[in-house]
Subunit: 204 residues, 2 copies
């Protein structure tokens, strides 16, 4: 595309570096901003800059935070003895959106993946061990994707935490709610039969 | 979505105001920037800000410009007597990309559309009349979409410019190159028969 303007070209290139945004989409976004008052672009740029320059990693759990300790870790109404170990910040958001968990989190920042060159030292594991040793945590729930890398990470962590005063559990795996049996993959279906649970009658 | 961070929330909202970007996509873009060095976000914000604060509308043609007169109008190698009248800046880019036109442009900024409340006074028409009266322009090519609003605009302009020393033409309409006849709409196909042109044998 021929922009006949270095300024437009620069802004299009800036947007096009973002994931999933090509040059055509970038141009549409730039022309949108051109057609709005200059204040709109100023507020947009300020929101991005202020976020990036001030965002912190929570000293306790590794989640994104506005303060040294994140809003979840500093919320005393939450169960401080129950910690959910997750790969990423997105997983924290996904679990928070379920409204089913009122404990704390620990964000590893990834999973062990020799193929991608990610070893235990690249993850937020030392802090997890310290939290487990502190005695304030009763249970660690491994909410990690059931992939080879995820299972490897859970195995590594459970070996590392052996003997620490915490119980380790993993989230339940099985056929998804609302899913039809015939469309479940064989591994999930097979495992869900092996790890079947006693049926509890719903009481009104 | 629960972000547990006002900074992330603000940046997600900023991205989500852009057209075609929802909150999930916005979050993906924000997390991308969080995972990159702070300089990446600074350069991104600077490119947007500098573009929006410094971009101008060309005094001659209404195209976007870095200087008071745009790069196309100030290019003396282009045919200054041939002017293509278009609706928007996107059309300038589309025509430039064809590499088939070496004249100048005039950007109207829209078409006459009573339904949307856009009248002749909302468009860049006065400047077009002045350019046509100046005597430096030989031909005005109306490269306006063949819609009802577009045809109305061409009709209005041709009445307004009657008696001025310029020839008015419109871009050719017909069956698209590479298109199959049976898939052309009836109006286009019918008009392309009425406005047929003499066949010229290709000479080597």
């Amino acid at each position: 595309m021929n922009f006949s303007s270095k300024l437009i070209e620069g802004a299009v290139q800036a947007f096009a570096t973002l994931p999933g945004i090509g040059r055509k989409t970038a141009l549409r976004l730039v022309l949108h901003l051109v057609n709005k008052p200059v204040e709109v672009s100023e507020q947009f740029a300020e929101a991005i800059l202020s976020m990036r320059q001030n965002i912190k990693s929570c000293d306790v759990c590794g989640n994104l935070a506005d303060e040294p300790v994140c809003g979840i870790c500093s919320d005393t109404r939450r169960d401080q003895g129950l910690v959910c170990v997750v790969e990423s910040i997105r997983d924290v958001m996904a679990i928070e959106d379920t409204l089913q968990f009122r404990g704390l989190y620990h964000v590893l920042g990834g999973v062990i993946s020799p193929l991608e060159g990610i070893g235990p030292n690249d993850l937020n594991i030392d802090a997890l061990v310290r939290r487990a040793e502190s005695g304030s945590i009763r249970e660690l729930i491994m909410a990690i994707s059931p992939t080879i890398e995820g299972e490897t990470t859970i195995f590594y962590l459970s070996k590392l935490l052996r003997g620490k005063p915490v119980q380790i559990s993993t989230i339940a795996r099985g056929v998804a709610f609302g899913g039809e049996l015939e469309y479940a993959d064989e591994l999930t279906l097979g495992r869900s039969i092996v790890t079947r649970i006693p049926y509890k009658m719903q009481e009104d």
